[in-house]
């Protein structure tokens, strides 16, 4: 029962995160959402008795993919509509 609820909640979260990552105009948050998808995925993999895959997904999906996305955003633009190109990542973080 708990297993069921856990999985259902994770699945719902995953859908929500993926929708968020697509509709979010701020690419940085969208990328973070994909990181969250990966995180949820790796928990799901663990629940589905795939520890190897869970490890890989956690390392690659959460850490590496997210970071190269972030670097790319840093090198290009942060907002999707690009109306205000001046607003860049650096100013947002500081």
């Amino acid at each position: 029962m708990i297993y069921f609820i856990l999985i259902s909640v994770l699945l719902l979260l995953m859908i929500a995160a993926s929708v968020y990552s697509i509709i979010q105009k701020d690419l940085l948050y969208a990328v973070l959402a994909t990181g969250i998808i990966s995180l949820i995925l790796s928990i799901l993999y663990y629940l589905l008795q795939a520890p190897d895959v869970a490890l890989t997904e956690a390392a690659i999906g959460v850490a590496l993919t997210t970071i190269i996305f972030v670097i790319t955003i840093r090198n290009t633009v942060r907002m999707e509509d690009e109306s205000d190109k001046k607003e860049k990542f650096k100013s947002a973080v500081k």
């Binding site: 029962m1 297993y3 069921f4 999985i7 259902s8 699945l11 995953m14 859908i15 993926s18 929708v19 990552s21 697509i22 690419l27 969208a30 990328v31 994909t34 998808i37 990966s38 995925l41 799901l44 993999y45 589905l48 008795q49 795939a50 520890p51 190897d52 895959v53 890989t56 997904e57 690659i60 999906g61 590496l64 993919t65 190269i68 996305f69 790319t72 955003i73 090198n75 290009t76 633009v77 999707e80 509509d81 690009e82």
Partner: protein
């Protein structure tokens, strides 16, 4: 966990996986920003991987690892989940990462070249 609930999981897991794939594809096909396109690809990859792992799962199965004592306790391997999809997914994840990296590098170069990420403005090659 009873069978009815597990029956729902059939729809929940596969449905979610397919839905995530489709959401990713939607982002790829509709969003104007190149980065969004790549994000869409990455999202749909996630859904796909979930789908593959889900195929290998058996109700009440254990991870395919013969930890000490496993054989003594269970005597049979039929209680294990299918390791093959897991192996395939390992490969798929790594390959997906490689492709994503290449795509992002291309995004950086396109931005350098065009000064924008809007896919409608990057159409020098057509017809």
């Amino acid at each position: 966990m009873d069978n009815t609930l597990f029956g729902y999981l059939n729809y929940a897991v596969y449905g979610t996986a397919v839905l995530v794939i489709l959401i990713g594809l939607y982002g790829t096909m509709v969003k104007k920003s190149l980065l969004k396109v790549v994000i869409g690809l990455s999202v749909s990859d996630s859904g796909l991987n979930l789908l593959i792992v889900a195929i290998g799962y058996y109700k009440g199965g254990t991870a395919p690892i013969f930890s000490p004592g496993f054989l003594e306790n269970f005597k049979s391997v039929s209680k294990m989940v299918d390791p093959v999809p897991q192996a395939l997914v390992l490969t798929a994840i790594v390959i997906g990462f490689g492709v994503t990296a290449v795509a992002l590098a291309l995004v950086i170069r396109l931005y350098r070249h065009h000064g924008t990420l809007n896919i409608d403005e990057i159409k020098n090659l057509k017809w």
